[in-house]
């Protein structure tokens, strides 16, 4: 047993750090520190910077542009990005549909889509959830009916993240309503410019428009955009959802957030003392940091195990990562809210922040804290709610 990284790993970490220092655009960096949202252009630009370095899709097979890293290197890379912080960039292309395409797609799909994904030529969104299909995803109703060399798609998706920016959507659609619900689903790639698609943004409690409703009204999709076999889409979706991401615990992000809490709490006077000097506040911060340290070690156990285990076999401890990771992310958001105090109250839209026409209301770092707090409520719901995670652990690990 040994906590130390190898010299090579240390060197790799330093390389990542240097790259971030050199290449992350300063304006984007500032926004991320302040919990603000990035524009589409900023996200695309950053994805291309990564791709230029060969780090846009490091987890892909080498022949498709992957980096050939060890699990520990992936871990280091993810942690350094999160800590810089460069976090929460949409990875619907690189992490979700990309692996499906290179695993189950045909040669034409691979050849066309993979390089474009790596270089962010296309913005992807994920058409899974529907109004009637949330935790019970397999009950989805969006229909795709074969009509010559096309599918005709009708139905509705919801909670589609950043669909307003998207060029393409990968969709689960029902191609066979006559069989058990998991068996009649197909996996379609749909051009968002297709006639019959309507995107309606949903305003969230944080004031932003992170998610959308998408309506499909007789949308004609070339049959060549079917991934794999018809009616096998549920298998591909399970593959996609099961692709373990080392970043899921967001340990790096939470570390950075706690540093931010401390930095701001040291600036913040409460009465005669600084907030950071108040025993009751210190105890709260320490409680979160301790949980985070435990999660970091748990994550390292999973990572080093992944170095040795057969691919596809998950370490039971990995199930903890999303649960505890969500809890800690929300706890850091809570601490930031407490640090900011009364000046969390004003709502300033991203556009106003962006324009910079007027001075900020309250401290300049305060504006995005409450929206970020509200936004963080999602992490215990998306990607399989806490309850679904616990159902899975109870069954798969505890045998209940």
């Amino acid at each position: 047993m040994d906590l130390a990284f190898t010299n090579e790993e240390h060197a790799f970490r330093e390389e990542v750090r240097q790259f971030l220092r050199d290449r992350v655009p300063p304006e984007m960096h500032r926004k991320l520190i302040e919990s603000r949202n990035l524009s589409r252009d900023e996200m695309v630009a950053w994805a291309r910077i990564l791709n230029k370095k060969g780090w846009a899709v490091p987890h892909w097979p080498k022949e498709h542009g992957g980096a050939g890293w060890t699990p520990v290197q992936h871990y280091i890379f993810g942690e350094e990005l999160q800590m810089y912080p460069v976090r929460d960039l949409p990875d619907f292309g690189t992490s979700l549909v990309g692996p499906v395409i290179y695993t189950f797609g045909n040669e034409a799909q691979k050849k066309y889509f993979l390089p474009r994904i790596a270089n962010a030529e296309d913005w992807w969104c994920q058409g899974f959830s529907e109004p009637g299909a949330g935790s019970d995803l397999a009950s989805l109703q969006t229909r795709a009916v074969r009509d010559g060399d096309h599918y005709v798609v009708n139905g509705q998706k919801i909670w589609t993240t950043l669909a307003q920016y998207a060029d393409w959507i990968f969709c689960l659609v029902r191609t066979n309503p006559g069989v058990k619900k998991q068996l009649g689903i197909s996996f379609l790639l749909i051009d968002m410019k297709s006639p019959g698609i309507t995107v309606r943004p949903i305003q969230l409690i944080d004031g932003g428009y992170e998610v959308n409703e998408i309506f499909f009204d007789d949308v004609r999709v070339p049959a060549e955009n079917l991934v794999g076999e018809e009616d096998k889409g549920w298998d591909y979706a399970k593959f996609l959802l099961g692709n373990e991401r080392f970043s899921i615990a967001s340990v790096g992000t939470s570390k950075e957030r706690i540093l931010r809490v401390k930095e701001l709490a040291a600036k913040c006077r409460v009465g005669e003392e600084r907030l950071i000097d108040r025993a009751t506040f210190r105890e709260k911060v320490a409680a979160v940091e301790i949980q985070l340290k435990a999660l970091e070690v748990t994550q390292l156990r999973v990572v080093t195990n992944a170095s040795k285990e057969q691919k596809g076999r998950q370490d039971p401890a990995s199930a903890i990562l999303k649960l505890k990771g969500s809890e800690i992310q929300q706890a850091t958001a809570d601490l930031l809210l407490e640090v900011v105090g009364p000046y969390t109250l004003p709502y300033v839209s991203e556009e106003d922040l962006e324009s910079g026409n007027e001075p900020p209301i309250g401290p300049d770092w305060a504006a995005a804290i409450a929206p970020a707090y509200f936004n963080a409520r999602k992490v215990s719901i998306y990607g399989g709610s806490d309850e679904i995670q616990k159902n899975i652990i109870a069954k798969a690990i505890l045998g209940l």
Partner: protein
């Protein structure tokens, strides 16, 4: 020992709740929010008609003689709808100041138009640096002949933009965090030298940052002792916290009700999700927290008249702590909030 409402109080509760039910659904709220003031002037007029704007004033001043219980009833109903209008700013905050400390002449001038819905008030007590310390007042009031001249910045003034008159705390003497030397001054919303920068709040209300540059206050517009206002500010802050407790309970009850409805209708995995035991127990946990919160909102209401200041303040702090904790308790099945607070 009695937790019941009187007949009049029950009537008040029924009428406010009916109003909210009929005219303050969430879609109404969205629409009202797009009006110029950021709230509904029509609803404001309706509140006046119902007598809600004169509620906490004595009948001698054209009010209804309502007390803490009446305020609780109204705020709880308003909390169900998260109303946008400046009721809290005008009727709880600013008029709390008037009720406790204004002269008879001031009351005679201000109360009728407020009760009739013709005048809105705001209370500017906070400053950019003051955080939660009501005594941290840097805005200065200098003697100017028989009146005063105010200069400084007030922050987070709830509904400060829409207010016809603003009660401003300002320092007439002492250091910036002294208890003594704070006065209360009534200024017009459009007074020369006063600038307001309005903005929406996270919950869709309106607030304003207000800068004052040599804003003249006539002697008639000084409220009470110009150097001894802090006790009354504390008193009103306590009453306001009590009112917010009731509002929070109303909101909490409504959320619980909505959640229960959803649990009973939403289907996943071929069954209503309310059939899952884990969600049932979460709903129970929320119910328990709601009832505990309701108890504290009643408690603080009944303690509003407590003569012992320490006891009263303890009650209010306890109620606020309980309700804040209860409303955030995501439910037992996640420990996020408790983890933050755990040793």
């Amino acid at each position: 020992m009695d937790f019941d409402l009187s007949e009049e109080q029950r009537l008040l509760k029924d009428s406010v709740e009916r109003l909210i039910l009929e005219r303050y659904g969430f879609d109404h709220r969205r629409k009202y929010q797009t009006e110029e003031a950021g709230f509904s002037e029509a609803m404001w007029a309706r509140y006046a008609e119902l007598g809600l704007l004169g509620l906490p004033f004595s009948q001698a001043h054209g009010g209804f003689g309502g007390g803490a219980v009446e305020t609780m009833i109204v705020m709880e109903a308003f909390g169900q709808a998260l109303i946008l209008e400046p009721y809290f700013a005008t009727v709880v905050l600013a008029r709390g100041i008037l009720r406790h400390r204004a002269s008879e002449a001031q009351k005679a001038e201000l109360i009728p138009p407020i009760a009739e819905g013709r005048m809105k008030l705001a209370f500017a007590y906070a400053e950019p640096q003051s955080r939660y310390d009501l005594f941290d007042v840097q805005t200065g009031a200098e003697k100017d002949g028989d009146g005063w001249m105010l200069s400084g910045t007030k922050g987070l003034v709830l509904h400060g933009e829409a207010a016809d008159r603003i009660v401003v705390s300002a320092r007439t003497a002492g250091g910036s965090r002294d208890n003594n030397g704070i006065g209360l001054f009534l200024v017009a919303g459009d007074a020369p030298g006063l600038r307001r920068r309005g903005y929406p709040t996270q919950d869709g209300l309106r607030a304003a940052e207000i800068t004052l540059e040599n804003v003249r206050v006539e002697p008639a517009d000084v409220i009470g002792d110009p150097a001894g206002a802090l006790p009354i500010i504390f008193r009103v802050a306590d009453e306001a916290a009590g009112a917010l407790c009731a509002e929070a309970v109303g909101c909490f009850a409504e959320m619980h009700s909505i959640t229960l409805k959803y649990l009973k209708t939403r289907e996943q995995f071929g069954t209503i999700i309310g059939s899952f035991q884990v969600l049932q127990h979460r709903a129970v946990d929320m119910f328990v927290e709601l009832e505990q919160s309701r108890s504290m909102a009643m408690y603080v209401t009944m303690m509003a008249g407590e003569g012992n200041t320490t006891e009263r303040e303890r009650a209010i702090s306890a109620a606020k702590a309980q309700i804040g904790q209860s409303a955030k308790a995501r439910s037992a099945s996640s420990r996020s909030s408790s983890m933050v607070a755990s040793a």
